[in-house]
């Protein structure tokens, strides 16, 4: 099982949503959670501090969307190994396919529960260990 001290970045333009995700992660035992309000902010934090180990990102955000962030992470040699879980209200098939093709490690549609988040995180950790 993953380390509870794993450094996670939660990216969402909506402060209430960041709070909820932070609390759900805390419930799952992850306490080292940081926040970014859009893709630009996230990329800045990820690049200035290379100790992040996981990214949970919304899709629809101003300045830089979640899919743009995902592509930027995969295109950056220092960051491309980072697991990215998309947590979004975008339920269109084309969005899910686009995210998978861009290299997302998981996709969760809102509204979601702590149990769903737990399941997806475990799946990602399992795949990473293989």
């Amino acid at each position: 099982m993953a380390d509870g001290n794993m450094k996670i970045l939660v990216v969402d333009d909506f402060s209430t949503m960041r709070r909820i995700v932070r609390n759900l992660l805390k419930e799952l035992g992850f306490t080292n959670v940081h926040e970014a309000e859009d893709g630009v902010d996230a990329l800045k934090q990820l690049r200035s501090d290379n100790s992040f180990e996981f990214v949970v990102s919304d899709w629809n955000m101003p300045n830089m969307t979640g899919i743009e962030l995902l592509r930027a992470i995969r295109a950056d040699a220092a960051l491309k190994h980072l697991p990215v879980l998309m947590v979004t209200a975008e339920a269109k098939r084309e969005n899910i396919i686009e995210a998978a093709q861009a290299g997302a490690n998981g996709y969760v549609v809102k509204p979601f529960t702590a149990a769903t988040l737990d399941e997806k995180l475990k799946k990602i950790f399992q795949t990473m260990q293989k």
Binding site: I20, N23, A91, K92, I96, A100, Q101, G106
Partner: protein, 206 residues
């Protein structure tokens, strides 16, 4: 599947619709001019800022209420966890101690501590459900914003017509706000829930 054929078909269908809308608009213009219905339009346009204000009020109220709820939850969740630990520690200490008197009372206390601990677990679970339920704020907020956007558009269209036929109408009615687009709820090509997302991802090898 022949894509070009479909595209051609939909494009000529589009032209036909545009033409129809054009004819309808011209008709509307003529009727407005003839009957002097700009008053009614002006009234309709003037209700739009009010509708927007009400929607913004709903959005603001939802935000405040969610924030308050989450603050109360954040303050309460650690208490339930601590209470559970306290109960189990106390009952273990009581069970390990030899009491000469009041043994029945001690047994009852241990049993009640177990019950309290279980109740705290239920409360914790319920509090987490309340936390998860706050997500409505995100999706509902985006929906409200979409409607506000639509209201702004309708208002602009009405005002354009009014400006042409009733030059006295004030431009102050127009306030354009940059709002982010919302979730694609009930769109034709949307998946229905997490299970379908998982199926789709599995088919993509994820």
């Amino acid at each position: 599947m022949d894509k070009t054929k479909t595209n051609k078909k939909s494009s000529s269908l589009g032209d036909f619709r545009v033409e129809k809308i054009g004819i309808a608009t011209a008709k509307l213009h003529r009727i407005l001019k003839e009957l002097g219905h700009t008053r009614g339009l002006e009234k309709t346009a003037s209700t739009m800022p009010d509708a927007r204000e009400r929607l913004s009020f709903i959005d603001k109220s939802m935000h405040e209420s969610s924030e308050k709820t989450i603050s109360a939850l954040e303050a309460s969740l650690p208490l339930t966890s601590r209470n559970r630990v306290t109960c189990s520690e106390l009952s273990m200490r009581l069970a390990d101690t030899k009491f000469v008197n009041n043994q029945e009372l001690v047994m009852e206390t241990i049993s009640k501590l177990g019950e309290i601990s279980m109740a705290e677990e239920s409360v914790h679970h319920n509090l987490m459900q309340i936390m998860e339920a706050q997500e409505f704020r995100d999706v509902a907020g985006q929906m409200v914003n979409k409607i506000v956007n639509a209201a702004v558009e309708i208002e602009n269209i009405l005002l354009d017509i009014l400006k042409e036929y009733a030059p006295n109408t004030k431009d102050s009615l127009i306030i354009s706000e940059g709002l982010t687009s919302g979730p694609a709820i009930q769109a034709k090509d949307s998946v229905n829930g997490q299970d379908e997302v998982d199926d789709l991802l599995a088919s993509l090898g994820l």
